[in-house]
Symmetry: D2
Subunit: 165 residues, 4 copies
């Protein structure tokens, strides 16, 4: 991620050059986020969204932990995936919605902290396929610990109800 | 998965030859499963467990859906991962616990149904690393639809509280 | 048949029921395979192809090994990916070509043998996205050892020269 | 320094602060790289190596292309994986060698250029498991295009000849 910022790649996305949300407003994106019952159910919030990027946060609750009181890996996976989906959605036409084709997540550290944050960025995208990268951090005593790293592939679909392909 | 059953590979795992749970009892495995607050919170049950295999089911509830009333992808990911972890746990010594190093999941079909089932099988395992494969099915009107396919890498750790590595 | 493909029925492609290659002939598929200079360069052969499935084999040569004389992991990855691409190509219209969007491979056993075989099967596919599963086996003294397992996402593109998206 | 590695501090390896190669010399690492017959066979060079990082380059040759004269995806995968393995090796004791457990790669752009470069960085690592991130760039007319992004999981093994686990 850092490398990319330091050595920006020449790619299609760079040409998009969005500085501000142009397709959907922040209000529309936030409404879509809350429209997923799972997200409020696990206490997830869309804490930031801007062109090509999105950030989701979850505060610690015992209900979303595993055997040892740590954030459950399923929560890290869910918000890493979802953050990438919303990052992609900022780049899609209003008639399109993001659908995750697949994602992969590596767990780098135990998720021991007060909050879990997924920061997603779209590395590349075009008409239909978007490649996102999400980093998940745990916040503990104001320290920020890199907890997981994910790659997410997203498709822009015309209708939610259509089959995935 | 099917291919493997039809053409069983010659590998270390085959030599393990467990026919019955030998290390932990089913009761112990089920207790460990329920010891994860997230699993009952999302309505997940460990519906079957046997040497090298585990099955987790989730009944439809609105709270675990996405924008269109389908099971949220985060739920498919969480149970695909967790089923593989428990499948691996059947092969680990009692002083060991499974920790997911990473997982990857492909979404093949929309998860539209009454129940979601993750069936996991360990393809290979040894002293410390276990490779699991999970297939997620949606049950709708008694049809069984392959919804997602996952690969999961699990590490046997001595203590939960140790860092991941 | 094409219409059915575009609206895949409940469940697996199994139900589509191609028994014979209908879109491209085996000769055309084999020509496309050989049209990739890398494949003959590493000694890879398309050993079998049928609707939804493809098999690639590589005979042992020192030039494709790693430090310990085993098949290099890069070779397993290349043929697992390529086999899935050709399996998908059997289901695409003649105006389409497969392009790998991403793949993931788990290495289950060391690749110590006389031959390496990647067997791919398409789990699900539609108009544009195909999900393939590849298993890589090593053949040693007539034993067949499961060596790697991969998931591959493929896109049907109209023109090779277009950017990926 | 080794102790620190075994108990990684909060956050990233950044904090460990290797500035110079301390375990193996650059000469030893380069010898190990060349000891893999596949790497010179595909024209790959270890162009840079430093603590936690490695860079592999491949110049364009027709023999490593696909149907359209682009670098074959199998080459991107092989060098993304290998670069991460060597990045991990800089952090391992001399009695250890890197073995890839699994890797995943997303193809972001067509690999159309004069050179292909994989830059790997270890995100996290400890006693046995290392998580690497590789970015693959294509160089064309002095432009640097982000072509693929990979996540790689590596294990430190004591003996090459032992089975993977």
């Amino acid at each position: 991620m850092k490398n990319i910022l330091r050595n920006p790649p020449i790619g299609r996305l760079e040409n998009i050059g969005f500085k501000t949300l142009e397709v959907r407003t922040e209000k529309e994106l936030r409404a879509s986020f809350l429209n997923q019952p799972l997200m409020p159910y696990i206490g997830a919030k869309l804490s930031a969204i801007s062109p090509r990027k999105a950030c989701i946060e979850v505060a610690y609750e015992r209900s979303i932990t595993q055997q040892h009181g740590l954030f459950h890996g399923g929560i890290s996976g869910a918000i890493a995936d979802n953050a990438a989906g919303f990052a992609a959605m900022t780049l899609m036409g209003k008639d399109k919605e993001p659908l995750t084709i697949e994602f992969k997540i590596n767990f780098l550290n135990i998720a021991d902290g007060e909050r879990l944050i997924a920061e997603a960025e779209i590395l590349q995208g075009g008409r239909s396929i978007f490649h996102g990268e999400s980093k998940v951090y745990t916040i503990k005593n104001e320290n920020r610990i890199l907890t997981a790293s994910a790659l997410v592939t997203i498709k822009a679909t015309s209708k939610v109800s259509e089959t995935l392909f």
